[in-house]
Every structure is written in C-alpha cells, then in structure tokens.
Symmetry: C2
Subunit: 332 residues, 2 copies
C-alpha cells in the first residue's frame, strides 16, 4: 500500500484524481491521503485513511483547512507505509523543496519542469538526496506529457547506448500555431500575429502567449533531456531563438517548425526556428502533437515517439504511470 499527497488540484490534478478514482481497488494498491491547492488543504481522518475521491472537491471546500505546506508535508511523510508527493504546480518554490521532501523519506512524482531545468545545484542536490535516502524522483510528464520520452531516454543511457542526437517538436502550442501559419500560405495570407490571436482566443496558448513564444518552455525541456543524456546544459547559456519580434521566412514547399536539439556530439544544443521540406517527419505533424527523435549508436535510423504532448488527460496519464512504477516496488 502506497500513500499519496497531491499538491495542486487544478486541471491536471483534478484529472489525476479522477483517473485514480477509477483505479481504486487495483494492484498495486495506492491511496490518496492528502491534497492541497494554494489556499486550502485536506488531510484524511482518521489519520492515513484514504480520502473519498468521488466528493473531494466539496470536501476540500467545506472541510478543508488553510493551506500550510509544512504541515501538509509532515502529515504525508509520517505515513506508516511508503508515500509519494505529487507536485502538479509549476512553482519554483515548491520545486526547491524536493531535497527536503526526499530527506523526509518521500518519493516525488511531478510534471513541474522547474527542478530539472533551473539551477544545476538544485538538480544535483535532488539526485544526491534521492540516492542518499533511497527514494525515487520520476518526472515523465515534464517532457511530452504522457509520451514515454524520459523513460526511453533513461533506458537508452543506462544500458550503455551512445546518444548522438535528440531532436524534437516539444511544444504543442507552437505546433498548432505553425501548422495554421503554414496552411494559410498561398492565398489570403493570414498574418502570424492574427493566428496567435485566434489561438489565444481559443485557449490554446498560455494566458500571455509570449510564455509559449519566447521559447523558454521548449528550452526547459531541452535542458531536462540534455542533463539525462549526461550533458551540462543550463537555461542561462542555451541558445534559444526568440520568435516573437522577428519577421518569419515563408516558402510554400516548406513548413516552419520550432525545434529543440540536444547534441552531445557536436555540442550544438539549442532551440531554433527552422524551415523544413514537407517530406521531413517533423513537417507531417498534425494539430498539437509532439514528436521526438532519438538518434543513437543502436538506432542510427532514429527511434521516434509521437503523439499528444499537452493536455490534462495525457499529462495525468504520465503522472499515474510514474506513481505505479514506484508502487510496484513495494508489492509484497
């Protein structure tokens, strides 16, 4: 039996709880014993009993206490059985506490990119605390949501394959925008800014679309994968083309793609705007799909993974898979 405390119950957190609710009686057994948003928290009573997942929203509203992260963490870390903290936020502040969580005996599962793509010192500290305390930190959903990107890269690396290059379309939002831009090519030439406005109005972008367009989100994913591949990448020094203010090239036989590159061989990692022929695999991407290609010694013709890289259902799926991989280890 593994106990779970969930920080962040917005879109992704709610979907995760709903997926966990349908699983309730399966093996390995997992129970949600605590959940919190930024204002309120709910700890189960009697202590360490499972929360009733079908009514958590009303219960949090009516019976929740004022959120207090240190009380929350103490409750979960004193669990009599192994316990996991799920961080569904995008908070740097919470990410910076993962070493503390690990020290307190908690495992960590998260789609939050901050801990793995910010300061190298924090990243190193997390790896060391995990090792020292024999605890696990899984973050499949930080890149490509539920697509098996990180688990595949870790398998390649630890079985001794040589990573020659990782290249990918890591932003569902930008894929969508560029697909629309490429489509509008021939006749009534919609402007890039108009397409972004439509995308924003339809809810496909962050509230401020510059958060998608400045490339920071893609850069974080490049740093995460690069570090797993053994490189010393840093957000501060990674070359990232900012596409907001530049005039965009346009060619009817090509499509625009915003590509993240991890390049352990030539050291030319970065995020770039490139114009690709229609025959390129990245050019065939539809909708908001991601596509990641691993070129390695064993896969000179790359291993490619493709599919929805954003959205609550697929992000929660990645988190849920990580939870089960931890729970597996405590099966009697």
């Amino acid at each position: 039996m593994v106990n779970i405390g969930i920080i962040g119950v917005g879109l992704v957190g709610s979907e995760l709880i709903s997926q966990l609710a349908t699983y309730a009686s399966s093996v390995p057994r997992i129970s949600v014993i605590a959940l919190t948003n930024s204002s309120k928290q709910l700890l189960s009573t009697p202590n360490y009993s499972p929360l009733e997942l079908s009514t958590w929203k009303q219960t949090l509203q009516t019976q929740g206490n004022t959120a207090n992260l240190s009380v929350f963490i103490d409750y979960v870390s004193n669990s009599p059985t192994p316990a996991i903290i799920i961080d569904n936020t995008s908070s740097q502040e919470i990410a910076s506490q993962y070493p503390l969580f690990l020290e307190k005996g908690l495992h960590v599962v998260t789609p939050n990119k901050k801990a793995f793509s910010s300061e190298a010192t924090l990243y190193k500290e997390i790896i060391e605390e995990a090792k020292k305390n024999k605890k696990l930190v899984f973050n499949e959903s930080t890149v490509g949501a539920g697509l098996p990107i990180i688990s595949t890269l870790k398998d390649l690396v630890r079985t001794g394959d040589k990573i020659n290059r990782i290249e990918g379309i890591f932003s569902g939002t930008l894929s969508y925008i560029f697909n629309e831009f490429s489509k509008s090519g021939d006749d009534n030439g919609q402007k890039f800014s108009e397409i972004v406005t439509v995308a924003k109005n339809n809810g496909y972008t962050e509230p401020d679309p510059r958060d998608d367009l400045n490339g920071l989100d893609v850069a974080r994913k490049v740093v995460i994968l690069g570090r797993i591949a053994g490189m010393n990448l840093s957000l501060d020094t990674l070359p990232v083309e900012n596409i907001v203010p530049e005039p965009l090239p346009k060619n009817n036989n090509q499509v625009l793609r915003y590509v993240g590159v991890i390049d352990p061989v030539c050291g030319e990692s970065g995020v770039k705007l490139v114009s690709l022929p229609l025959s390129h695999p990245f050019a065939t991407l539809k909708g908001s799909d991601n596509m990641i290609a691993f070129t390695t010694q064993r896969f000179p013709n790359p291993l490619i993974i493709q599919g929805a890289g954003a959205g609550a259902a697929v992000t929660a799926f990645g988190i849920f898979s990580d939870i089960l991989k931890i729970a597996d280890r405590f099966e009697p």
Copy 2:
C-alpha cells in the same frame, strides 16, 4: 545484487553479454552466473560468483559441460540472491517451462514470442504462477525489439485508458521487401520474387523466407498485444492474409504494407496486406523500421512509436532494459 542465467548465446545472446559486460560495475548490480547453448553450459565457480564476460566464448568451449537444462535451472534457482532466467531462444519447449521456472522462484525475461502467443492455457498459467510466486515476466523485445511498445501498452491499460485500436508494421523484413517492391514500380518492374531473392541473399530474411512471408511472425505479435489489451486472441482463429502465392496489386501512388491490427472495439483484429496512399504514416517507413500506432480514449490522435524493430543490438537493448527494471526492485 541480481544473478542472471542466460539460455541461448547466439546472435542476440552474444550481443546481450557484450552490452552487460560494459555495464558490469553499475547500479543496480547484476551478474551473469550461468549460460548455455543447446550443446554446452557453463555454471560459475565458485558457486554464484560472476562469470568473466570478456572471455565467455572460449570458456564455454573449453570448460563447458554438456547442456542439461534441469541442472542449469536448479543452479540458477538456488541463487542466494534474486535471479532471472533470460530465454533468447525461439523454442516452444523452453517457453512451456516458464511456469516451472516461476514456481522455482525465478524471474523471466525473454524475446521469445512462443509463451505469449501460443496456447491460451500456457499464457494463463504463466500469469497465475507469476502472481502466486510474486515473480516477474517481462517480454518487451517480443514486439518491435527494443522499442517501448509493450511497456507503453501496459501503462495505458493499467492506468485505465480505453484501447480503441492498435495498428502497426511489425515486420522489419517485410517492410524492407515492400519498400523495394514499391520503389521498383515505374520502369524496369522487378518481380516480387526477385526482390525476395535479393533480400534472402543479403541476409535480411529468415533462412526460409516463407517464415517471414506467411505472416505467422506478425500474427504472433498481434496476439501478444491483443492479450495485453484484454482480448482473447488466438493464433488458430486470427485472420492472417498469406501473401506468398497471391498476385500483388500495384499502383504508383500507393505502397503495399503488411499491417497487424488489434481491434478491441469492432473485433476485427488480424493481419492484412493493404495498399496505402503515400501520405499515410505507414507509407513513410524506411528500411526495416517498425511503426506502431495506439489509438485510445486519451490519444484519439494516436501515440506512435517508430524505429528499428529487428536486429541484435536493439533486441538485446530491450532485454537489458527489462533486466534492469527487475533489478531496480531489489535495490536496498
């Protein structure tokens, strides 16, 4: 520390040993303590010490005893630490002994399709014995070699996603042959039989190419995935189009593909020869790559995995990843 006994040291087994040799001192720790081919076997001395992997071929030749599977299994199963049997053969006889291996306390990792695609009774017995003895059976390399096909399907299923359809190009050999056939279209019209002859002479096919061409190998993969998806598929009743004696359709704007389909919704699983437009993802496949598309409730636009689906290096990679997933569970 996990101990390993390897049955079958041909092309895949040798490559696995070579990959394991470069890993030797890493964590989690694993040691090869026994290996055997059909004529000779080598058990480590002193008992349960690691075999020296750099010289295993000569040692097996000069110091190996006559192969005796029951002696081999007894040695490995009496290991003082958790132990895994790796079956690199394609033997039905060895596959039928997995329930016995599990009963003796061994975990099983294998690229051998027989146990998972033959009689439903054997399959059921393996699952029951694994559960009863709390042992693991991992077979990632039975479908798409090292591509993360089976692990992804298992993650989707056990987190409660609904599998609507799995469709794939599961045969590297047939991909290669059809690619050549489709290419030869316009001018000097190479015959299908001529292409198969060239493929055979270049070592791309089984010794008897009919073993690739009769569809049995693809059918086994369809049965394996179908059973994981909860279906009652059987080799005896699965519709499989045999492509050997039929005249093949030909169209310059289309390519031929031999497609495996798992269809839990309409029940139309099977293996078919289809003519696809050049724009279809399966039509873009190059060389001997496999491509598998999972269409699910969470991935209505399919999750697609693509890459080398055959070859010793990638098959051994899949086996090695499975070994590490088991060894992970015994880390102190």
